[in-house]
């Protein structure tokens, strides 16, 4: 996939799936997860236009980085401190379309927050996805704490934190990486660099091309990765996970990705991004790239692809129906869960 690499950062070409020891089943699972994430994400925007989803924030363009990363982890054992674009990551770790759609509709049964938080503020205990606030970079410090506990208790668990490149300007990001470096924790920080923080471009957030070059200051390796290349991301993440599990410490990964949509449903990126830039970006769809890769290696036929697409649409249809029919939270529960409940 190296021939179609994103030109922004020099990265080494991705190994092939054979070199990575990935079989067809797993490759197709990865593909399905990306297709499903995209289908859900697109549907959210439709629901938004229909007035059914008051707020949308998207992961379109980030899917390969997230699914590639997730497959290097052990779901249910390792921890994810996610951020709001991590829909594909969460699906790959075990969140179901219904789990997520319930949050889009802010339903009582939403396992993320019981309809309390805006959608895409992920949290799913059974998948070890830690609840997140809207305050960017706070979750990176939690990952350091999770990793510290893993290390001192000898649990062998890895803690992953994701955030955008703009959010690395926050003090919490520095404090977390510094702590992780000092204690050589089993932690991985994935920066999903989509070049923008709402409207503010990369160059106004940092004076370096890749945030990975800051890793040296924290005593850890920094890996710049073409995050549009699923296998490149899987490969980098596997190295990082091996390091973490064998006690060699944390890794910082800079995944260059693309933000296909506006920042959120309250933004219009045409106001601050040139038309040519948007068009060029959309030509480099990470899902498309992976599909082409699979087809080139005769791992996916057209009919199989169509059936995967149909399946995803059907899954979304069903989840939307169920979520729409699910009850809203009870007003009487407003004051619940401020503190632990007795018994």
């Amino acid at each position: 996939m190296s021939d179609e690499r994103d030109g922004r950062t020099a990265t080494s070409p991705a190994p092939s799936h054979v070199q990575l020891g990935l079989g067809r089943e797993q490759l197709l699972t990865m593909y399905r997860q990306m297709v499903l994430a995209r289908a859900i994400d697109r549907r959210m925007w439709v629901l938004n236009r229909q007035g059914k989803a008051p707020f949308v924030i998207s992961g379109q363009g980030h899917e390969a980085a997230q699914v590639g990363a997730a497959h290097a982890l052990e779901p249910g054992k390792d921890w994810l401190c996610p951020y709001y674009r991590d829909l594909a990551f969460c699906l790959a770790l075990g969140m179901t379309p219904l789990d997520f759609l319930l949050s889009v509709y802010a339903r009582a049964a939403d396992p993320n927050s019981g309809g309390r938080q805006m959608p895409s503020h992920f949290g799913l205990k059974r998948a070890r996805i830690i609840t997140t606030s809207s305050v960017v970079a706070t979750q990176v410090v939690h990952a350091a704490g999770l990793a510290y506990a893993s290390k001192v208790r000898g649990l062998g668990e890895v803690a992953v934190a994701c955030l955008g490149e703009g959010s690395t300007s926050e003090g919490d990001w520095h404090e977390a990486l510094n702590f992780a470096g000092v204690h050589q924790l089993p932690m991985i920080c994935i920066v999903q660099d989509n070049d923008y923080a709402i409207s503010v471009p990369h160059r106004l957030q940092m004076s370096v091309e890749s945030v990975a070059s800051r890793a040296v200051g924290y005593g850890m390796p920094g890996l710049p990765v073409d995050g549009g290349d699923l296998l490149a991301m899987y490969s980098a993440m596997r190295q990082a996970v091996e390091r973490a599990r064998s006690g060699e410490g944390p890794t910082l990964i800079d995944a260059k990705v693309a933000r296909f949509t506006s920042h959120s449903s309250d933004d219009d990126q045409r106001r601050y991004r040139p038309q040519e830039e948007l068009e060029a970006m959309l030509r480099k769809d990470p899902i498309e790239r992976f599909r082409i890769y699979l087809q080139r290696h005769s791992l996916l036929s057209d009919p199989e692809d169509e059936s995967i697409q149909r399946e995803a649409t059907a899954q979304v249809d069903e989840a939307v129906q169920q979520a729409e029919a699910a009850p809203s939270p009870d007003v009487a529960d407003l004051a619940r869960h401020v503190f632990a409940e007795e018994g």
Binding site: I130, V141, G145, D172, R336
Partner: protein
Amino acid sequence: MAQGTLIEGIREAMAEEMERDDRVWVLGEDVGRKGGVFLATEGLHARFGGDRVLDTPLAESAIVGVAIGSALNGLLPVAEIQFADFIHPAFDQIVSEAARIRYRSNGEFGCPIVIRAPYGGGVHGGLYHSQSVEAFYSHVPGLKVVIPSTPEDAKGLLKAAIRDPDPVLLFEHKKCYRLIKGELPGSDHLTPIGPAAVRQEGDKITCVAWGLMVHYCLEAATTVAEEGISVEVIDLRTLSPLDKKTILRSVEKTARAMVVHEDNLTGGFGAEIAAIIAGEGFEFLDAPVVRVAGPDVPAMPFNKPQEDAFMPNPTRIAQAMRDLAAY
């Protein structure tokens, strides 16, 4: 029961809980070999090792954030903020994260952390080693805020805080650390978070305070008792969740109420107590509720005359009691 100082109560609480439960750990600046700048953690590093008594980088948001993460992964952290004045960089981790984790996850995740911080003035600490910060955090649902005034409660409340399933902030008045001596209960004793303590009964005035101010109010109450003014002194011990019942029951008896705190007046926690008494005890009152507090200046000056002028003291409190009794 053994006798000891307030800081000994704090230290014993941590040592006993660490002994009892190996999930308990301590983190903060200089808490390791040095034992903390006030020696609250003295001896713990030697006894429990560096993993469980950790000298963190100088970064308060990380101290609280790492504590939160470790709690989400099964540990029970006791984070020390070296001075309450330096808790502000961690405000976001405390308020946006610790306080809201249970609520925002609809009860799925909890955040059993303790944050200890020495607070308060009258120790020549200047602007940045004298602050009272309890009002900021008592405002936030999801946090418990406790302030012990005796060695017994320091020990009992900290032990209860460590065993509490939710985030607890424990503010320790640094002037009380070695000044206040008293009984130190055995390892089984817990002081429950919530209930206030009536430190002295009286029937003319209800006087509500916490921390060092409890002792100043008791001193003032002794002075005015000789003049025939009987004051009931309530030590809140826990500011949040607040024991309204004990306050209102007392005001029902005395019909006169005052609150004393070291924090500056405007928006201080005394305003909340005054509002509760006015709102829920209006029928009991024979006089307006009085607040004795620090002046509305940014912080406590270092020089002695201005520091003295800032701090409420027994003389000032006694005068406020006389005025209120005469109303």
